[in-house]
Symmetry: C2
Subunit: 547 residues, 2 copies
């Protein structure tokens, strides 16, 4: 049988039995591994973290003197003369520290025992222990990189026997082969998984971002879901019964439409990383969009399941239909009050800007948690669990959290920071762009951008300066929703026409926003730097040439 | 009849008929004045604005060349030879621009027509047109200042006739004579009205601030209210019936206790004013306190009056029993959703830290609007109005709002900014204090402070640095309420023990807090400066000497 990722979705549940022997052998070995048992949720590292793997591996390489001598045109996984041959059975015996940890890549056999600690993805690498890294590298395509291959070859201990070579991967297809087509104007931050942002100047052309231009943030391959067989499950902790709703049943509930901005926690990360490198996709300022979402209120669905606003639960967990090679799905949770409150406006959306939600954005059903970081707006929604506990997913526990600027990867303790929910106030200049030559108009330049704040707060002012804050110009708030805080979910589009001194050749434009709590943006990235590069909401600074 | 301010409270309503002829003549003339009709709410300027009057008047003085020649030991209001004499009847004819605007002060007659525009309190001055300024100067004692007297004498045009001299004020007593006694350790920012803060080092000694040490923010004299005759009125716009509740009736409703921090919008103003002068009381970092408040839920009282959470009102207005010489009471409003929501936790409190609320804090009933600026926590509550509109009081409309750093008193338009409600994230270092000599302990110094955020957000981290942000130390959050956001109303007390390099003589300590929305403080006052000096939440910076 050909290994087809999308076939793994049986109705809307993942059928682990369909995972082929490649994945099973990998995960079984990992499950036996002592390293895993202590913190299973740490095993999985988001694709987001994986994207800076190349950087970290390069860093690691610098510490290996012998790597300096080999390198450059190393061909990874090619059979090398003079090295011993091992069968896949031999390799499978080496799946923990006591036996040493071996993996294969194509025809190569590698002892990664001493590398595990330096692996930027942490224990994640142990999923491949005693087996092939290839299914994982297909998922996190950042590994397909000469720097990574170089490091890998420094760990080389042998070759796979001719009989076994290729057997582990012969039925494996690209898990991304069924991803949807995307508009070519989207600017990718990574291709597998697909993550891409809108060109900033397009972002400020209209209050509602068209679906095709809306930024895409995928952690895993896009599942192919049959709306006819789709079912949403709702579990209440402590109750035996699970509520199941088909798409048709869901659509029969009272409909609710909201206009809400969704933003990635890593939006504007590329600016923070200039202070000191951070891990994560190198997003510009356009990992954000504003859309109209139609669906049913989550609180109505919870009420159907017998849970009302006054119930004593603390969290509502979500699981997506997207999953990794071990069958682990994307997951996240939000506080119960937000889920159950009428004022929270959380919906299970099946329409985006008046049409069925496109596959990249969660077809057929996505949770929209307005005012809350994109990561909790779970796409391809499979399951809702009302619980005393947060989701134990990697993305809730060990990602999407803020830390002090002095916390590094040696000192970080993810249990010490809360999962990001409502996002802080932010703004960005979308026009002109960095380095652009701008034609002045009667001694003025036109600056356009967006501003937004989480938690249903409204933008009350945007200030723009061309002289490092000696003079601030109050921008016009051109497009803004009429909803009042704390239910103001949309961004504000703004513009300012600012005088420049005659003869000025270059100006740096700064923008900062103030929200209805009068929270404002921090000035610089230095003092809000964090190792994951999230919450990058310092003043936006854009330098342009004048003509 | 001797003019006794506290006698004006008849039951809990202000009896305008008891206002004596001094005040009546002043207000009647003002009511006839064309300047007032357009914006009645602008007439009243808070004592808070009045406190920097001296500064502005001094500024005005600099523009009057002849003032430079007179000045210094001018005695204001003393009869001056060579000037014409006017009866009070003559003076009363001059109460608008057409007739020129005259006022008296003791035995002096002054033409203030050309000064009105430059008066920092705006149209407020017109209340005295055709009469004496003295009742107002008793209320806003900042006028009793040599700088003010100097300016006044530059406007001198005559003397009050011997027959009339003293008549206007002969029955006038000090409206503050019945204010309560205060603990001598409180540090006054103004005495009449009384405004004072706690010594900062005392603030961080305990999570709950003792009543006697709790900062006091009064806009007017403290009313003396008889709890036996006290009645609270609740009006619903569009309904003819008004609900009245005695204190006993109120206390029969279900009780609700919350622990909440109350903070003045002007807390830490003295730091902002160093960048460029602002108007307002010169508060340090201790115009804040944390207490336990017991009362009844406002939503329960609204329900008694027939208004539930889903009603279509927008605002809930409050009126206090404190009032100015024209009978205008202190007033403010909050959004209806906050007032009516269970999660809003708004209470009508009659106990503070387990005892009846002290007079300075609102005896017998004060609104506690947790997470919201102190100015909306109306004391000596007389009346609640459920409305489509915000309170039209000066303090809601023309005070307690934020503006861009480039907005000055010539360009400000108070209709353009929203009234401050929920406050932004803030922190302060309370120990050591600015300029203090600190004994190091095994090469470390101990820093203590508070942090808080409005809107029910919790403090998730406090960062402290001694090297301008090159190294940030994460403080211990020593005392924090267990309530979860968005119902976390109390401050967090924190401490940090930070190493100092041997031989260091002086360090500047910086502190900044991060709340559960991951909003953080702005770095410097320059870019958040505003003409009223509110929302002063930049990093707190304290320089100390080491021993």
């Amino acid at each position: 049988m050909k290994f087809m990722w999308h076939r793994l979705i049986c109705k809307n549940r993942i059928n682990l039995r369909l995972l082929d022997n490649i994945c099973r052998s990998a995960s079984l070995c990992a499950q036996n591994n002592k390293h895993e048992t202590s913190s299973p949720h740490r095993l999985f590292l988001g694709a987001s973290i994986a994207t800076l793997l190349a950087y970290k591996l390069y860093d690691y390489k610098k510490n290996l003197a012998f790597a300096e001598q080999e390198a450059s045109d190393t061909k990874a996984g090619v059979a090398r003369e003079g090295l011993p041959y091992y069968s896949l059975q031999d390799v499978s015996q080496h799946c923990n520290k006591d036996t040493r940890i071996w993996v294969t890549y194509k025809e190569g056999v590698y002892d990664i025992t001493d590398f595990v600690e330096g692996h930027p993805g942490g224990d994640q690498i142990l999923l491949a222990a005693g087996s092939s890294v290839e299914p994982f590298w297909m998922l996190y395509a950042v590994h397909n990189n000469p720097h990574v291959w170089e490091i890998l070859e420094t760990l080389r201990i042998g070759n796979v026997t001719k009989e076994d070579a290729g057997k582990l991967t012969e039925n494996m297809s690209d898990p991304y082969s069924t991803d949807p087509k995307r508009h070519p104007v989207l600017h990718p931050a990574s291709v597998k998984p697909f993550n891409a942002e809108t060109p900033p100047f397009l972002l400020v052309q209209q209050f509602i971002t068209p679906n095709e231009l809306f930024y895409v943030r995928n952690h895993l391959p896009v599942p192919k879901v049959d709306p006819e067989t789709y079912e949403l499950e709702i579990e209440i902790e402590g109750k035996n019964k699970t509520l199941s709703l088909t798409l048709d049943e869901l659509k029969k509930l009272p409909r609710h439409t909201i206009t809400a901005t969704i933003m990635c926690a890593g939006n504007r990360r590329s600016e923070m990383t200039k202070v000191k490198p951070v891990k994560g996709l190198s997003w510009g300022a356009a990992a954000v969009g504003n859309a109209t979402w139609t669906g049913v209120r989550l609180r109505d669905v919870l009420a159907l399941a017998g849970v009302d606003e006054d119930a004593a639960f603390k969290h509502v967990q979500f699981e997506g239909l997207d999953f990794d090679p071990t069958g682990k799905t994307y997951g996240a949770s939000i506080p119960f009050w937000k889920a159950a409150s009428k004022r929270g406006d959380v919906i299970l959306a099946f329409e985006m800007n008046g049409v069925p939600i496109p596959r990249d954005h969660g077809f057929p059903v996505r949770v929209i948690v307005p005012g809350t970081v994109g990561a909790r707006n779970v796409k391809w929604l499979a399951r809702i669990i009302v619980s005393e506990k947060e989701s134990d997913s990697h993305w809730q526990q060990n990602d999407y959290k803020g830390f002090s600027p002095s916390t590094d990867w040696d000192t970080v303790d993810f249990t010490k920071s809360p999962a990001i929910q409502e996002l802080p106030v932010i703004s960005a200049i979308c026009q002109p762009s960095e380095g652009q030559t701008v034609q002045t108009d009667d001694g003025h330049i036109l600056v356009k951008g967006y501003a937004w704040s989480g938690g249903g707060q409204k933008i009350v002012r945007v200030d723009v300066t061309l002289d490092e804050g000696d003079t601030w110009h109050v921008a016009n708030l051109d497009h803004q929703d009429t909803a009042e805080p704390p239910q103001h979910w949309s961004w504000t589009l703004w513009s300012a026409r600012i005088p420049v001194k005659p003869g000025t050749k270059t100006v740096q434009i700064w923008a900062k926003a103030v929200d209805s709590c009068y929270n404002t943006q921090p000035e610089s990235f230095k003092n809000i730097w964090n190792l994951r590069g999230v919450l990058s909401n310092a003043y936006h600074r854009v330098t342009v040439k004048l003509q």
